[in-house]
């Protein structure tokens, strides 16, 4: 895991496209913590949400997407197939597959991918 993380941390040095989050928002955790632990935070909260019905936690995938998936240079919301999607921009670089979006929505709620 630390191997991947070290790559992830360096991704913005080497990857030319890293989408910016929605303007005027601040991440729920420090950048370093998110980079190394985002998968654990989401994993724990998903069980709280689904099994216990506690839906107001601060580490929801929904909120990640709402802030981090922003319009690209073509004024479109990139979906998970695009290299411009926030998650993909790093995950493609480190060759770690995300399976979240075969079920979860990959663009913000109430927004559409323009075609």
């Amino acid at each position: 895991m630390s191997f991947f993380v070290s790559f992830a941390i360096h991704a913005d040095d080497n990857n030319s496209y890293l989408p910016k989050a929605k303007a005027g928002t601040k991440c729920v955790e420090d950048r370093q913590i998110m980079r190394t632990n985002h998968m654990d935070l989401i994993l724990h909260q998903r069980d709280k949400t689904m099994r216990d019905g506690k839906r107001d936690g601060r580490h929801s995938l929904k909120e990640c997407i709402n802030c981090h998936v922003t319009k690209n240079d073509k004024n479109e919301y990139p979906n998970i197939d695009s290299s411009q999607h926030f998650c993909n921009s790093c995950h493609t670089y480190v060759a770690v597959k995300t399976d979240c979006f075969s079920c979860h929505r990959s663009i913000p709620e109430n927004k559409q991918v323009k075609k």
Binding site: Q32, I33, N37, H44, R58, I65, N79, S102, H104
Partner: protein, 239 residues
Amino acid sequence: MNKLNRREFIKKTTNTAAISILPGVFLQTVNAKGADVKNRWGMLIDTRGCGDCKNECITACHSEHAVKSFDRPQTDSQWIRKVTVKNRKTSHTMALPIMCQHCEKPACVDVCPTGASFKRVDGIVLVDRHICIGCRYCMMACPYKARNFVHENLSEQNTISPRGKGTVEACTMCVHRIDKDGAKAKTACQQACPKNSIIFGDLNDKNSGISKKLKAMGARQIRADLNLNPAVLYQGLDL
């Protein structure tokens, strides 16, 4: 990468270590009420209004959960389906909507090999798609044929209702609304029914609307002989 000075490095490493070691403690900050063992959510459906309706409940349910047709009726998901039954002796026909019956003793949970099928403490039966392997045992076990297997790649699901290919799904009794509004919640099908034939509420609360109506008028469960004690009850089932 930004260069960190010694103090920042120690601070950030400590934070990271704390989260890695104590994720449980960290999540104690979540104060939501959540599912309560005191509740037993259920629905009462008066089928006498179902015969000549335009399936508004089904349309609303599928819109709420982004269940779309792929023009393949044999495999398209149906969270609610309208079933028409006929008495052979009297030739009387009637229609009723059938969805997950949220049994007290759900057969789907019994047979699930991974624990993906589960019942919440408030009686709602759900599928944990994170660990569902798509074996479809639950579909075979369910006497109401309430479960569906997703055969197609999906995209742009509704945020409140994640669903995807290779997993099993069924009516969630609009659990996202229940978690938000509790006993005041209305399910999507209830809201859409033009004849107000669907009532949602707490079966454990004697003062709830559903309990009062059940006390006054009674209702039946489908296949009550199986002793699964479904939380969906029906009126007007007489053929």
